[in-house]
Amino acid sequence: MTTLLNVKDLRAYYGQVQALHGLSFSLSEGSLTTLLGANGAGKTTTLRAICNMVRSTGGIEFDGKPLNNRSTESIVRFGIAHVPQGRGTFTTMTVEENLQLGAITRKDSAGIVSDIERMYAHFPVLKQRHTQQAGTLSGGEQQMLAVARALMLRPRLMLLDEPSFGLAPLVVRDLFGILGKINREDKVSILVVEQNAQLALELADQAYVIETGRIVMSGNAKDIANNEEIRKSYLGY
């Protein structure tokens, strides 16, 4: 399989504080990869560094093209959709406007209209509420909206930051089911950051474990899930 995203020796800084200490990993086209780790390990920072939302050094290549020093908004145009922590909902705008915003860089109006219908088919609850202010949706619905908004880009790679955060277990199952389906059927590669390691490992095919800004473990998701030692020392279950 071809490598879609290749991160080499990534170091990221918040002011004087270094958050990532030379982190390297790669993601193959079509895969669903998860980054695991405790609070503060650097998972969110890794995603933010890919989209140039935090100062970083090192190499980030997408489909063979370097992403470093490009603005966040131009990185989106490579087909990278980032669902940030806290979902990034445009709360004062309607559900439908949120979806239109996801496709704002696209020029094909007809395709956008049909994609909005496709999203409503994926997430029927969004159709019921399409004229409603997005801020009035429940947490789970907002997460669905955030995923749908990201898909409106027709991305090649979707970055998801803690999609399970604050959601009821049943809603999380539902959401992860949809993510798996998007990955298989729409051929969208996914990089998901999670604290809920158990669930993420069930879903993913590839996994990396981060600790204090470094990759400490990588491999097939099944293998990592079956390795009791790793589970106990890094994943806490």
């Binding site: 966040t72 989106v76 145009r77 940030p84 990034g88 909902t89 949706l137």
Partner: protein, 292 residues
């Protein structure tokens, strides 16, 4: 009764101008979270440009359109040169920037066109409107142009892609960047539009207050009062606030003994203070509905 109707209509006419100024202030406030103290001076400078164009023999409406275009570009230039570098600076630095801009524009206008008061033409004439003594054709024109402008802006923000992008950039900048919106240029665009809206207000009010470098001082204070009254987070509120302040100002001047023309301006300031005390978010200030 005729006096009352007359005062209300006149209030709506000047209120239209306050609404434009308030809208310009709110647009920039939404984009960068600062009040543009120099909004009035920018409008005044635009008005002088249109006057100069007419002095050179260009007809009114051509000068009007050219001035709008120049003001739009000028607004963008001010943002790029002065306020983009200040984006991450503390509030007071920005305030200093606005005051500097105020002083620079004001004295440049004085230097170029001197401080003598000039007549400014109206394209609508000042005869009674439709034969009625209640309102003049110029006042009707002020209302008409403002209504057209507001409808145009509503359409732009509600139904165009770039309007949607501008709203998104103003409400959640980080998410806007993550869907590929160049938020920095959206701010510049907001400045350009605010500058052009101010230019319209200046050109419409100039026949009434006459053209001189300090012509917009009072108008801007009313504009601020309108924006605060309607709510600084609500363009709709700013417009409603503008009309309310215009009508209120006229009625107070007519009916409250001792107020007259001289004390109208303090009324606007008193209004700002009372609104801030009683309802800080303004009449239509956004209270975001949120579920956690």
């Amino acid at each position: 009764m005729e006096l009352f109707t007359n005062q209300v209509l006149a209030g709506i006419a000047t209120g239209a101008i306050y609404a434009c100024m308030a809208l310009a202030v709110v647009m920039i406030y939404q984009a960068i979270d600062h009040l543009n103290f120099a909004q009035g001076e920018m409008a005044m400078f635009s008005t002088f440009i249109s006057w100069q164009l007419m002095q050179w023999g260009i007809p009114y409406w051509a000068a009007f359109v050219i001035t709008l275009a120049l003001s739009f570009v000028g607004g963008i230039a001010i943002e790029r040169i002065l306020f983009k570098p200040l984006a991450k600076a503390p509030v007071l630095t920005n305030v200093a920037g606005f005051i500097a801009l105020f002083a620079i524009i004001n004295s440049s206008a004085g230097l170029i066109w001197d401080f003598t008061i000039k007549q400014y033409p109206t394209p609508f004439g000042s005869s009674p409107f439709l034969g009625s003594q209640l309102i003049s054709t110029h006042q009707a024109g002020m209302i008409g142009v403002t209504v057209l402008l507001l409808l145009g802006l509503y359409f732009f923000f509600q139904y165009t892609k770039i309007g949607l992008a501008m709203r998104a950039a103003a409400s959640v900048p980080e998410s806007a960047r993550l869907v590929g919106i160049n938020t920095s240029w959206m701010i510049a665009l907001g400045w350009g539009m605010a500058s052009a809206i101010g230019a319209i207000a200046g050109m419409l009010i100039a026949p009434v207050v006459f053209l001189e470098p300090n012509m917009m001082g009072g108008v801007l204070i009313y504009g601020f009062a309108a924006a605060v009254l309607g709510g600084l987070t609500s363009p709709f509120g700013a417009v409603v606030g503008g009309f309310l302040v215009g009508v209120f100002e006229n009625l107070a001047g007519t009916y409250i003994p001792g107020v007259g023309n001289e004390l109208k301006l303090p009324i606007a300031l008193a209004l700002i203070i009372s609104v801030l005390v009683v309802k800080p978010a303004g009449l239509f200030g956004r209270h975001i509905v949120k579920r956690v």
